[in-house]
C-alpha cells in the first residue's frame, strides 16, 4: 500500500462508503447492548398509526402499543424499514421500563416565588452563583445584571457594547462574571462592590470566535473558560492571558450549548448544535469521544445528569432526550403530542429525578426522568422561556424569558 498522500485504492467515494458502513456498524454495536426487550427500530409515530388507540396521550402506554405493532410486522422478515424512508427512533425508553416499579411522584406545588424585573428586552441567558442566592442574567439589549434572588435587588449592572448577549456565566468564586454574544467574544468582568468603580472599565476580553458566542462556562476555577460559538467550534481559554488552550472541532453547524461534566475528575463536556448532534469531548485532547444524533432539529440545551453518567438535551423538535454515556445511546425521550414547540433549556433537580424544561410556548414542563411522564406544567411567562437553571442547592430554579423577566420557582 502506498504510504504517502493518497492510497491507490482510496478515493473520496470509497472513504465515504466506508464512513457509511462504519455508521451502520456503530448503530449495530449500540443495538447489541440494548437488552431491554422491545424492538429497536420503529417507524415514526406518523406512519400508519392507529389513532383510535386508547390512551393516546399517555406516553408510556402509546409507546408499548406501537412497539407491539412493530414487533408483529417486523417478525415477518426484514428488520429494515420497508420503504427506506428515514426513521426516527421511537425511544425504547429503557429507563422507563426499568423504573416501572418505582413509586410515582406525588403532586407538586411549584409557584413563582420571585419575579426579577429590570431588563429592557428579551432575557437570553442566566446563571446562578455558587452562593445559591445571586444570579447573573443577560438580555438582547446588551445589559448584564447581577441580582440577589432573595431580595430581588440588582447588585451590579453593565451594558455590553453589543446586543444579543446570548451567554453569561458566574465565576465559581463569585467574584466575576463572563458574557458575550454578537460581539463574537467572551469577556470577563470582575465584580466589585466599590460604588465608585465602573465595572466596564475592568473588562477583560478572553475569547475570540469568528461568529456569535452562544454559550460560556467557567471550568472548576476562575482561570479557565469554555465557550461555544456559531462558528461551529468550542474552545477552552485561559482567562488571565486570553490564550486559546484547546479548540474542539467536529460540529457541522452552529454550536448552541454546552455543559461541563460534574465530577472533578471528569474533564469532559457535552455540546449540542444546529447539526442535531450532541457531542462529548475530552477537554485535554480536544477529541470528540462520543456523538449522538437522534434529535430531529437543533439542540438548544444540554445538561449533565447529576451523576455524570448521562445527559439530557432539549431541542427544537419539541422533545427532550436522555442519553446514557456508558451505554452510548439515547435511553429515554420526553415528549407529548400536545407539545409542539421547541424546548429551549433543560436542567435536572438535585437527585436527577426531575427534569425541568422551558419551552417556546411560554411554559415550563416538569418531567419525571425515570417514568417519562410529565409531572407538572408551569405557566407564568408571557413569552418564550429562553433559559432555565436549578439553583446550586436545588431549592429553587430560575427561568428567564423573552417577556423581559426572570422568575424564581420553588
Amino acid at each position: 500500500m502506498a504510504a504517502d498522500g493518497l492510497h491507490e485504492n482510496e478515493t473520496l467515494a470509497s472513504l465515504k462508503s466506508e464512513a457509511e458502513s462504519l455508521k451502520g456498524k456503530l448503530e449495530e454495536e449500540r443495538a447489541k447492548l440494548h437488552d431491554v426487550e422491545f424492538a429497536q427500530l420503529c417507524p415514526t409515530l406518523c406512519d400508519r398509526l392507529d389513532c383510535s388507540l386508547p390512551g393516546a396521550f399517555v406516553h408510556g402506554i402509546l409507546q408499548r402499543r406501537i412497539l407491539e405493532w412493530v414487533a408483529v410486522s417486523s417478525s415477518r422478515g426484514s428488520s429494515r424499514p420497508r420503504d427506506g424512508t428515514s426513521i426516527s427512533r421511537v425511544s425504547c425508553s429503557a429507563v422507563h421500563q426499568v423504573a416501572e416499579r418505582v413509586e410515582a411522584l406525588g403532586q407538586f406545588v411549584m409557584k413563582t416565588r420571585r419575579t426579577l424585573k429590570g431588563h429592557g428586552n428579551k432575557v437570553l441567558c442566566m446563571d446562578w452563583c455558587k452562593d445559591k442566592r445571586r444570579l447573573v442574567s443577560s438580555s438582547q439589549d446588551g445589559k448584564v445584571i447581577v441580582w440577589d434572588s432573595f431580595t430581588t435587588n440588582k447588585e451590579h449592572a453593565v451594558t455590553m457594547p453589543c446586543t444579543w448577549v446570548m451567554a453569561c456565566a458566574y465565576a465559581p468564586s463569585g467574584c466575576a462574571i463572563a458574557c458575550g454574544g454578537l460581539d463574537n467574544k467572551c469577556s470577563v468582568y470582575p465584580l466589585t462592590f466599590d460604588k465608585n468603580e465602573n465595572m466596564a472599565a475592568k473588562k477583560k476580553s478572553v475569547a475570540m470566535h469568528t461568529n456569535y458566542l452562544s454559550a460560556c462556562s467557567f471550568t472548576n476555577s476562575d482561570m479557565q473558560i469554555l465557550t461555544a460559538s456559531g462558528d461551529g467550534t468550542c474552545a477552552l481559554w485561559d482567562v488571565e492571558s486570553g490564550q486559546l488552550l484547546q479548540s474542539f472541532h467536529g460540529h457541522g453547524a452552529d454550536v448552541l450549548c454546552l455543559d461541563l461534566a460534574p465530577s472533578e475528575t471528569g474533564n469532559t463536556f457535552v455540546s449540542g448544535g444546529c447539526d442535531k448532534k450532541a457531542m462529548v469531548w475530552d477537554m485535554r485532547s480536544g477529541q470528540c469521544v462520543q456523538a449522538f444524533e437522534t434529535h430531529e432539529s437543533d439542540i438548544n440545551s444540554v445538561r449533565y445528569y447529576p451523576s455524570g453518567d448521562a445527559f439530557a438535551s432539549g431541542s427544537d423538535d419539541a422533545t427532550c432526550r436522555l442519553y446514557d454515556l456508558r451505554a452510548d445511546r439515547e435511553v429515554a425521550i420526553y415528549s407529548k403530542e400536545s407539545i409542539i414547540f421547541g424546548a429551549s433549556s433543560v436542567d435536572f433537580s438535585l437527585s436527577g429525578r426531575l427534569l425541568f424544561a422551558g419551552y417556546n410556548d411560554y411554559t415550563i414542563n416538569v418531567w419525571d426522568v425515570l417514568k417519562g411522564s410529565r409531572v407538572s406544567i408551569l405557566f407564568g411567562h408571557e413569552n418564550r422561556v429562553s433559559t432555565l437553571r436549578v439553583s446550586p442547592d436545588g431549592t429553587a430554579f430560575c427561568s428567564g424569558s423573552w417577556d423581559h423577566t426572570l422568575r424564581v420557582w420553588a
Binding site: 498522500g5 493518497l6 482510496e10 478515493t11 473520496l12 472513504l15 465515504k16 466506508e18 464512513a19 455508521k23 456503530l26 454495536e29 449500540r30 447492548l33 440494548h34 437488552d35 431491554v36 425504547c92 429503557a94 429507563v95 421500563q97 426499568v98 423504573a99 418505582v102 411522584l105 407538586f108 411549584m110 416565588r113 420571585r114 442566592r133 434572588s149 432573595f150 477529541q287 470528540c288 469521544v289 462520543q290 445528569y305 447529576p306 451523576s307 453518567d309 448521562a310 446514557d324 456508558r326 451505554a327 452510548d328 445511546r329 435511553v331 433537580s349 438535585l350 437527585s351 436527577g352 429525578r353 426531575l354 426522568v369 425515570l370 436545588g394 431549592t395 429553587a396 424564581v408 420553588a410
Partner: protein
C-alpha cells in the same frame, strides 16, 4: 492543480470522519439495562436530599413565604 487540492482536502475530511467513526465504534459499552439501573439507583439514593422531592419547610426555604407571626 487546484482541483487536486480541493479533492485532497475532501479526502482529508473523509479520512478524518472515517477515523473518528472507527474510534467511536470501538469504545466499550455497557448494557442498557445495567446503565438504566444505575441511573435509577443514583436517583433513589439522592432523592432524600433533593429539596424538590422531599420539600423543605417554609421556615428554612428562603424563597417561600414565612408564616406570619402575631405579637401578643
Amino acid at each position: 492543480m487546484s482541483s487536486k487540492v480541493t479533492i485532497g482536502s475532501d479526502i482529508g475530511q473523509a479520512r478524518r470522519a472515517v477515523e473518528q467513526l472507527r474510534m467511536e465504534a470501538g469504545i466499550d459499552r455497557m448494557k442498557v439495562s445495567k446503565a438504566a439501573a444505575d441511573l435509577l439507583q443514583f436517583c433513589t439514593e439522592q432523592a432524600k436530599s433533593d429539596p424538590f422531592l422531599v420539600g423543605i419547610p417554609a421556615a428554612i426555604n428562603p424563597f417561600k413565604e414565612k408564616k406570619p407571626c402575631a405579637i401578643l
